[in-house]
């Protein structure tokens, strides 16, 4: 989630309240305050509210939330003669484009910084790292309208931003930092999206880089903004940027987009409307609010509201998150104030029950602790080396991660014993004897199994000792069992036994093989057992 840096001076000026008042209310608007500094405050806003990724957006929301300026804010877009022609050749590469002209801006460092930050945050969130949507900001005076948005081949060349030489698209991918960073989005294409002006000079190569010639400077007063992509996310981003610049005092003018088969005008800053049943509000929130409370709450959240039989809501054009009436009902709750809602324990009457899986776990814990073993818990993530090679076992039925982060964690464990031996190897310096156990999940063929494993280590640990434990354990579980010579190479031949119940192997015990001990750098004898409990118990429903 993006962290937005809000400078106190700017924020206080735009909101019209002191930092203390702002600080006391901000968290209740919906955000996590990361850091409070003297100069600025770093705030993490939620990904559903990209309109709050700029100081302008936050100020607008806070002015409502602090009762300074309530309700819907209208944004005027002047008709104008700016045109973009969309060529057929770009439609299967990056089909959508929208634009806006913003005039009479006072561009200073503050505005440039704010623009760059919001652009970056929108690219990451709505744009999914520029894949779905990318924004270009240009100095209007450097552009000769009308523009053409078209597909070009890799030899098309222009001077990209931050360079002073003409480069082909191919060269940009290889040499330009942005080309290297975002080239993957256009990988495998033979045509590339390009916005050119009436002199066929490039102004932008979306979603990679603008042309140097339209660079925004301190002398810029009028901006042209383009947003390209695939779907309505381009409109959402444009609305957020254009309203934010309008809040800075910019005058918005619309741009006509001429597709081969239709013409649209952007930005479209008309409010969408939605009607909500009051009962739906009462039902979702669990309590009744009167009409005034609903109206007030929504106005504080900057919606336009009429409450009659139904609630008629005008949704501000910068709100990208309203998919459903419940999204508005949440805003009623926020505008009303979460802190004003009286919590009530629900009357829902049901009978509780434990899951058999955990019943077995608890039972096994009781037995093992009674036998003097200390419970440990370990990671279920592990690797082939520890699980199989170290144990001299064959790897079978394990779940492998596609993109492990470290070589330590590449698979999910199929056995607990290796984890216990690993644990003992970290605890050699502690007083002997050590008796530990873990009862928990392993994953075999992508399905969870419940296992218990235990280890005893001290200078005289031997087969007899672990057999006594297994005898006691099986006695407590009231299981008729038998042993056969095991072939498990983790143990010493002739001192290893498979545990058989109903002619099925459910576990193994014995003296751990010296080579295994060496692999774990253990210097004391270890005896151990591991038993699968899912084989002999009904362990309940696994979803």
């Amino acid at each position: 989630m993006p962290v937005v840096t809000l400078h106190w001076g700017e924020l206080e000026r735009m909101v019209g309240k002191s930092r203390d008042e702002i600080l006391s209310k901000l968290p209740m608007l919906g955000c996590d305050i990361e850091r409070i500094g003297d100069e600025h405050i770093d705030v993490e806003f939620f990904p559903n509210r990209p309109d709050l990724y700029s100081v302008e957006g936050v100020a607008r929301a806070l002015r409502g939330f602090l009762d300074i300026e309530l309700g819907y804010k209208h944004y005027e877009v002047k008709e104008a003669d700016w045109k973009i022609f969309v060529d057929e050749s770009v439609l299967d590469v990056r089909p959508r484009i929208v634009g806006c002209v913003v005039r009479n801006l006072k561009i200073d460092d503050e505005v440039i910084r704010s623009l760059m930050e919001v652009q970056e945050d929108l690219h990451w969130t709505i744009g999914r790292n520029r894949r779905k949507m990318a924004i270009g900001v240009h100095d209007l005076s450097k552009i000769n309208f009308p523009l053409c948005y078209k597909g070009v081949d890799k030899n098309f060349s222009f001077i990209p931003l931050d360079f002073d030489e003409v480069m082909t698209i191919e060269e940009i991918f290889k040499k330009h930092p942005k080309g290297k960073e975002y080239g993957f989005i256009l990988e495998g294409k033979d045509r590339f999206p390009m916005i050119v002006d009436s002199k066929n000079e490039a102004i932008s190569f979306p979603p990679i880089i603008n042309a140097e010639k339209t660079r925004v400077t301190e002398n810029t007063t009028d901006l042209f903004i383009d947003v390209t992509g695939f779907d309505e996310n381009v409109d959402k981003a444009l609305n957020i940027i254009s309203t934010m610049l309008a809040d800075r005092g910019g005058r918005l003018e619309c741009v006509e987009i001429h597709y081969p088969s239709r013409v649209t005008k952007t930005p479209n800053l008309k409010a969408k409307e939605m009607e909500i049943e009051k009962n739906e509000v009462y039902s979702l929130l669990g309590f009744k609010l009167n009409d005034d409370e609903i109206k007030r709450a929504l106005e504080r959240m900057r919606f336009g509201v009429e409450v009659n039989d139904k609630i008629k809501v005008k949704i501000p054009p910068y709100r990208a998150d309203i998919m459903h009436e419940w999204d508005i009902i949440e805003d009623i709750a926020i505008g009303y104030g979460y802190d004003r809602i009286e919590p009530e324990y629900p009357a829902t009457n049901t009978i509780g029950s434990t899951h058999p899986w955990n019943e077995i776990r608890d039972l096994v814990k009781e037995i093992m602790i009674g036998l003097g073993f200390m419970e440990v818990i370990t990671f279920t993530l592990t690797n082939e080396r520890v699980q199989y090679e170290y144990l001299r076992r064959k790897a079978e039925g394990y779940t492998k991660l596609m993109h492990p982060l470290t070589t330590d964690h590449t698979i999910v464990r199929t056995d607990i014993l290796p984890k216990l031996l690993e644990l003992l190897s970290y605890n050699k310096h502690h007083i002997m004897p050590q008796k530990i156990f873990e009862v928990g999940d392993v994953v075999v063929n992508d399905v969870n199994k419940l296992r218990v494993a235990a280890c005893i280590t001290h200078s005289k640990a031997n087969f007899n000792e672990i057999r006594s434990v297994v005898q006691a354990f099986m006695r407590e579980l009231d299981l008729t069992w038998d042993v056969v010579e095991s072939e498990d190479d983790a143990f010493i031949d002739g001192r290893r036994a498979d545990i058989i119940v109903d002619e099925k192997k459910i576990g193994v015990f014995g003296e751990v093989h010296p080579e295994v001990l060496e692999n774990f750098e253990l210097t004391m004898p270890v005896v151990a057992f591991e038993i699968d409990l899912t084989e002999t118990f009904d362990s309940g429903e696994l979803l």
Binding site: W326, I329, A333, D339, T348, M374, I377, L381, I436, N448
Partner: protein
């Protein structure tokens, strides 16, 4: 309190009398070691005095022994002088060496006079030295010091020093000295010997050897506590596999297929795909694309079933909750799950690639957001957090969403998990009838607060020493 040895010793010795240790051992029928140990203990308690005395012993040398038998040279010379006084004859008789000794000694004592090779006896003499040798040979040392000194000088007698420990009882305890019991043995019980005896009182302040408790892991204790709370509140415990389809982990929860949380950056994917139930999938697909009949706009674009088929290590237990609700769509339902989840995160003190998550859901017709807050308040109160407050939050599958915070001494308000009402886009494709109140939190966070831990890695790679020291209840 006196030990049995001390009592035995005290009983067998007389007050005021000095006993060498061997004597005390004989009288008390204890070993010398036991006597010595008991005597020192008694001395500390003021019942007796232990002192070391040095006595001198004298023994005859071989020469001394011979003179005792044959007589001292001077004695023999006197005897011979009584018969004759020619020195050369006497020399033949006595030998030159002895004659020399005898002459020297007698002249020094002015007993004889020498002239012209003749010896003249001047006066009579008694031989105290001879008597002394005699006495020494018999073990008596009651001999004048000058004579002893003389004998030692003449190397007829050797002096030895002998150290001896002497015990003197100063007083006996006022109370009757009774034998006490140290180890209570089966014999004592059988014979009822304990009846009129006292037990030796031990120094209870001396620490004994450490033994270690076999016990439940402290973290499991917290999980147990959470389970108990849910069960008390009437929730059904549910359980699911660690490996889930992307469908249950993401799509069923209305997470768009291009959502950053679904990136392989954050999720452990498996290179495996499984078939899905077509009927379930169809409604979810439509809901994602256009909202279906949920009243939502949906995410737009195309929903790809192949992405839903891919297996993942579940990133949250909500994958299990939604699956359970899909199978049990009729209210009332209250269910919970506390289990392992996975995130593709680098390990540090507060981030682990796997951790446990707690999650509870209530499905009912007439419940709403304020009931969710009521549940959270009650749950945290049972967890021991008396002050709870609620802030707006965001989760892709809930609306409204809330971030509960609890007040912790020294830390202030601490965010503890998340909660919300499941979106219609989540419940309607599965025909879930009613509203679903859901909340969850990471147990690790709870453990850090409750166990005062600063490093979560400790939980899963336990140091046995730490586990041994960690109390069953942490105050």
């Amino acid at each position: 309190m006196l030990s049995p040895f001390e009592i035995k010793l005290l009983k067998s010795l007389e007050v005021g009398k000095e006993y060498p240790i061997s004597e005390a051992a004989r009288v008390s029928e204890l070993s010398k070691d036991a006597v010595l140990k008991a005597a020192y203990l008694l001395e500390q308690k003021g019942f007796c005095k232990v002192k070391e005395i040095v006595t001198k012993r004298y023994t005859l040398t071989n020469e001394g022994l011979q003179y005792l038998k044959d007589g001292l040279p001077e004695e023999r010379l006197i005897e011979l002088l009584k018969k004759k006084n020619n020195l050369s004859e006497i020399e033949k008789e006595m030998g030159k060496k002895e004659l020399g000794i005898a002459l020297g000694w007698l002249r020094k004592k002015n007993v004889i006079k020498l002239s012209d090779g003749k010896v003249e006896l001047i006066k009579d003499v008694d031989f105290k030295e001879k008597d002394a040798l005699n006495l020494i040979s018999k073990g008596s040392f009651d001999i004048p010091k000058d004579i002893l000194k003389n004998l030692i000088k003449r190397k007829l007698v050797e002096e030895e020093e002998e150290k001896e420990i002497i015990i003197k009882v100063l007083k006996k305890p006022d109370v009757e000295l009774r034998e006490v019991i140290t180890d209570l043995t089966p014999e004592i019980l059988l014979n009822r010997d304990w009846k009129d005896k006292e037990f030796l009182k031990y120094d209870i302040k001396i620490p004994s050897k450490d033994v270690f408790t076999a016990k439940v892991h402290p973290y499991e204790r917290i999980i147990r506590e959470c389970r108990k709370i849910f069960l008390e509140m009437g929730f059904v415990e549910i359980k699911g596999n660690y490996v889930q389809t992307s469908f249950w982990n993401f799509d069923a929860l209305f997470q768009p297929q291009d959502h950053p949380a679904r990136d392989m950056q954050d999720t452990f994917y498996l290179n495996k795909y499984v078939e899905l139930d077509e009927k379930l999938v169809k409604k979810v697909k439509e809901t994602h694309e256009n909202g279906w009949i949920t009243g939502s706009t949906g995410w737009g674009g195309k929903w790809d079933i192949n992405k839903a088929k891919q297996l993942v290590l579940r990133t949250h237990t909500t994958a299990i909750t939604i699956h359970y609700l899909a199978k049990n769509p009729n209210p009332p339902v209250k269910a919970f799950c506390i289990d392992r989840v996975y995130r593709r995160e680098a390990i540090d003190a507060t981030h682990l690639p796997e951790f446990d998550q707690l999650e509870g859901v209530v499905l009912d017709k007439d419940v709403g957001f304020k009931h969710l807050l009521g549940l959270l308040k009650e749950f945290f109160l049972k967890m021991g957090f008396e002050d709870v407050r609620f802030r707006p939050g965001y989760f892709p599958y809930t609306e409204p969403s809330v971030e509960p915070e609890v007040y912790v001494e020294d830390l202030g308000w601490v965010e503890l998990g998340g909660a919300g009402v499941f979106r219609k886009e989540v419940v309607e494709p599965f025909g879930i009838k009613g509203k679903v109140l859901a909340w969850g939190l990471g147990i690790g966070r709870l453990a850090m607060l409750r166990l005062g831990m600063k490093d979560l890695r400790r939980l899963y790679l336990p140091d046995i020493g730490w586990l041994r020291e960690f109390p069953a209840i942490k105050r």
